[in-house]
């Protein structure tokens, strides 16, 4: 089966800081991929490259076999790539519902009742429905993160990119988030998830990728990766022999 999302030799640098160093990886349809790595490794930058917020210096990005490297961010979204932002970016003066509605009408291209129904359903699933008529600017940090997730889902993506949405959750909240993402996954959406709360990640993803200095340094079965010496040293900060 061909990959839904594929990066080939993607490079990006800001002056001397290399944020993507010859990155190549692919995502199978329906797969859930986890991404970890130290702070500043280039994880968010990788998302920016995939969604078109950043332009790659070199390399190719393909969605469903189609080269999208030169596409605008908007076009990529309409083609099926949705994301959440690590630093939430709500439309502060619109209501929560309208935030979702933007994604449903623009990203998913729906209109009228269909768009409304999708938004209501997604907000219900992400637990924001009670605030649907509230201004997005008045949400707490975590509600904003949920809004990020809701909007991404309302765009009805083929691939959804999640950037640190579990940070700052209590154990209980974390469990319900994991359940939500599993449900999304179950509907056939492919997922790439960056997260420092590793246990949440491990509960969902089938494959784990480790990034450092913009380079993919390991990739594979999650448990095995977590046990690897490199990850324990550079990421968890546990002495390999300890």
């Amino acid at each position: 089966m061909s990959a839904i999302l594929e990066l080939q030799g993607v490079k990006k640098a800001f002056g001397a800081v290399v944020v993507a160093d010859d990155q190549s990886w692919s995502l199978a349809p329906g797969e859930a991929l986890g991404v970890i790595g130290p702070n500043g490794a280039g994880k968010t930058s990788m998302f920016n490259l995939v969604t078109g917020t950043l332009r790659a210096d070199a390399g190719q990005i393909r969605l469903g076999g189609q080269d999208i490297t030169g596409w605008s961010a908007a076009k990529r979204c309409r083609a099926g790539i949705a994301r959440s932002f690590q630093v939430p970016q709500p439309f502060a003066h619109m209501t929560v519902f309208e935030n979702a509605y933007v994604a449903a009408t623009q990203g998913a291209g729906l209109s009228g009742r269909a768009a409304e129904a999708l938004c209501l359903d997604v907000l219900d699933r992400t637990g924001l429905i009670a605030k649907a008529n509230g201004q997005a600017g008045g949400l707490t940090l975590l509600e904003r993160k949920r809004l990020e997730l809701s909007r991404a889902l309302c765009a009805r993506p083929r691939v959804i990119l999640l950037d640190e949405i579990a940070g700052g959750l209590t154990e209980h909240e974390c469990q319900s988030l994991i359940q939500t993402i599993r449900d999304v996954h179950a509907t056939g959406v492919s997922i790439v998830w960056i997260e420092h709360v590793v246990h949440a990640l491990l509960a969902v993803v089938g494959r784990l990728m480790v990034i450092d200095f913009g380079r993919k340094i390991a990739e594979g079965e999650p448990q095995a990766i977590m046990q690897s010496r490199e990850v324990r040293e550079i990421y968890l900060g546990i002495e390999a022999d300890g």
Partner: protein, 338 residues
């Protein structure tokens, strides 16, 4: 699940019902209003249109332009040129003015959309100055000192002074309704939410599939074309045009901004309410001359400091009033909570 999304409220339905007789009454104005009143009402309709248009740009699309006088003046000058130099009948000239407004604003948009925020605002102002200085170079339209609409053209509008004044009013009223209708239609369309989204956060808007440039471009061009039409009607009423009057930042932008701010930016009702308040102030205070303008400045500052969302914004925050059914609310939440 009993959740649903509605736009209509009881108030908005009631409003639409009273709107019909109001419009009929306004159409009949030449039969019940005096000469000076008709002229004033025409001016109100035109200012209201400018305010609604500017609000669409700045309040909804976040394109804070301080240079819309470019299109007011352009429309006015073009109307004079088409009628006096090209010999067109005024009625034929008006639609051409709108078209020309679309055509001229497109390249301007391409240029100034490269700018953001405050830069954009200043850019629009400079463009308006370029328009002003360019028209000041046109000797056939009176150069720097301007020209008057020749009496023959005025007479060709309609037979007799009364009929002419009625026609001028209907044109102004018609333009006002065209503007409000266009804006309501645009805001209710999918472009409507997209616009507000762009204003709030471009990065997110882009990532959710909004083609920012095209959306803004459409709005800018539509607004500019309609602004040119209003400009043509303004100078049809004034009968005289000059670069300073046509491209006056004070008259066509500052006052319009005051109106929108007083009424409430980012709502459709705000500019309409604001226009009425502005003219009420003007009619009661204008005899004070200079003091009137000072008072106007003070009112604007006070509103901005104490009710930054304007009069309508204040009412809306308090009671959630909305006359035009524009925003989408989820209803049935309380039931679900309980």
């Amino acid at each position: 699940m009993s959740l649903s999304v509605t736009r209509r409220t009881r108030l908005s339905t009631a409003w639409l019902i009273v709107l019909v007789p109001i419009v009929l009454l306004l159409i009949a104005a030449p039969w019940w209003a005096g000469r000076a009143d008709l002229r004033l009402m025409g001016e109100i309709a035109l200012y209201m249109s400018l305010a609604v248009l500017w609000n669409l740009l700045a309040g909804y699309a976040g394109l804070v332009s301080v240079g819309q006088q470019a299109y007011v003046g352009f429309g006015g000058y073009l109307f004079f040129a088409l009628t006096m130099l090209a010999g067109l009948h005024p009625y034929a000239a008006l639609p051409l003015v709108v078209l020309a407004g679309f055509v001229i604003s497109a390249p301007v948009a391409v240029l100034i959309f490269r700018l953001r925020g405050a830069y954009f605002a200043i850019g629009t102002w400079v463009v308006a100055e370029v328009f002003r200085l360019s028209f000041a170079q046109m000797a056939s339209l009176g150069g720097g000192s301007g020209t008057s609409l020749s009496p023959d053209i005025v007479r060709s509008l309609a037979e007799g002074r009364d009929a002419r004044e009625a026609v001028a009013w209907w044109l102004a009223l018609g333009a006002g309704m065209l503007v409000i209708g266009t804006v309501v239609w645009l805001l209710r369309s999918r472009q409507g939410v997209a616009l507000t989204a762009i204003r709030d956060n471009e990065l997110a808007a882009r990532s959710l599939g909004i083609d920012i440039w095209r959306t803004k471009f459409t709005v800018y061009v539509v607004v500019s074309g309609l602004t040119a039409l209003i400009g043509a009607l303004i100078f049809l009423q004034k009968l005289r045009i000059s670069p300073d009057a046509a491209f006056s930042a004070n008259d066509w932008t500052a006052f319009v901004i005051f109106i929108v701010v007083i009424g409430g930016i980012g709502t459709l009702e705000g500019p309409i309410l604001g226009t009425l308040v502005f003219f009420a102030l003007r009619e009661t205070l204008a005899d004070l001359g200079t003091l009137y303008l000072i008072a106007l400045g003070v009112v604007a500052i006070v509103i901005m400091l104490f009710a930054p969302r304007g009069l309508w914004g204040f009412l809306r925050d308090r009671w959630g009033l909305e006359l035009f059914p524009l925003s989408r609310r989820v209803s049935g939440l309380a039931k679900k909570e309980a």
